[in-house]
Symmetry: C2
Subunit: 232 residues, 2 copies
């Protein structure tokens, strides 16, 4: 029997991954990390709602030390989230140092404790320019470190490492993922700001699929497209 633990934020990418895993593994659990980013609370609400929908156990891990010790504008202790296009120059300040390495390591230890043979993460090609720990060059040795460090018990997969966000939307739709419930905006809050780079990136991903973002009202979608046009 195969059992996977999905690193699950409640965002678009990891929601698509969760549903891909539901169709490919016998058993699925999810793990969510709260590192006091500005958008953790909004993401977590989405994650819980979607897991409840599928009867999937979601384990939450608090990592207050990241907000206390690390420097990043993505954190509550950091500066403002930059607006505009999802490009290297204005996004570097949102890097949380080695975030994926930390989440994957904790997930590996927990996976071993619950006898999950696989952990899955939704890092993707679109993130590679800005976030070094989203790249294939990071994932490849991490696969080896996790396999060796757990005595051969846990295998890491990152099936989206070569995909764009638009392709992830396609995968999500093909597996029936409720993308309308997922949360992306870096600013948190009740509704997406539509202005931050991750909102712009999400808009583009749906546009390239000739779809309207199902999480937005028609009015919000119009606004999102106009902002995206301005920045691209």
């Amino acid at each position: 029997m195969s059992k996977v633990l999905v690193v699950y934020s409640g965002g678009l990418d990891s929601t698509a991954l969760l549903y891909k895993c539901i169709s490919e593994f016998d058993e699925v659990e999810a793990i969510n990390f709260d590192y006091n980013s500005k958008h953790n609370a909004s993401e977590r609400k989405a994650a819980q709602k979607i897991c409840d929908l599928e009867g999937i156990k979601l384990t939450e891990v608090n990592m207050p030390f990241i907000n206390e010790l690390f420097k990043s504008d993505l954190l509550q202790s950091g500066g403002d989230i930059p607006e505009g296009h999802y490009a290297e120059d204005n996004m570097k300040s949102t890097v949380v140092p080695f975030r994926n390495g930390i989440m994957l390591s904790i997930a590996s230890g927990y996976a071993e404790s619950i006898d999950a043979d696989t952990i899955a993460i939704a890092n993707h090609f679109g993130d590679r320019a800005v976030y070094p720990d989203c790249r294939q060059e990071f994932v490849q040795p991490m696969i080896g470190a996790i396999l060796e460090g757990t005595g051969g018990k846990v295998r890491l997969i990152s099936p989206f490492v070569g995909l764009t966000k638009a392709q992830i939307v396609e995968v999500g739709c093909s597996h029936g993922a409720p993308l309308e419930l997922s949360w992306s905006c870096y600013n948190g809050g009740d509704r997406p700001c539509l202005k931050c780079s991750t909102c712009a990136e999400r808009t583009e991903a749906f546009l390239l699929n000739n779809l309207q973002d199902p999480s937005l009202s028609s009015e919000e979608w119009e606004k999102a497209i106009n902002i995206w046009k301005k920045y691209s």
Copy 2:
């Protein structure tokens, strides 16, 4: 200028490493992880005392999720610590899954935040049979994952990976490490129990150097030798 962040428990191995680093780097900081093991409090007291002695900044990171979620007899939530020789059969229950991977990942992110170019860990040859995340086969890919995942900013070193504990005692002494202040016993408490496998291993390491363990009274040392003889 070189700056190193040492993963520092306050135990014998990492105390030797700390002093080796003091002599080899321009700047040294230390990071201590509390994962609610039975001996964390005793180790931490030793770590703080030794860092104070050298004016080294010691940062403490709490990881309560490990005790809450992981299974291991080393944890307060686990069963009794096994007695006897430090061998595979009776020590497996003390493995905290992927512990070193987790500590190294958090240390990597913190190192990037404080502009340390190197992180150092004291995993050694004697631990390799029982703890998979102490082996060279784990360290090697982890070096790559950390280097790539921090965008080339942080390098991992583990200079004791091929050394026995006896050789580490020798290194520690040659760098003037106050090994009498370090703590090893897995059971915590005010004085070492002398019965657990890590007490036996420590006794052996000093014996092989024709030294008395400087942390013990003459009476305790006699007792430690007798227990060690019984088990080996």
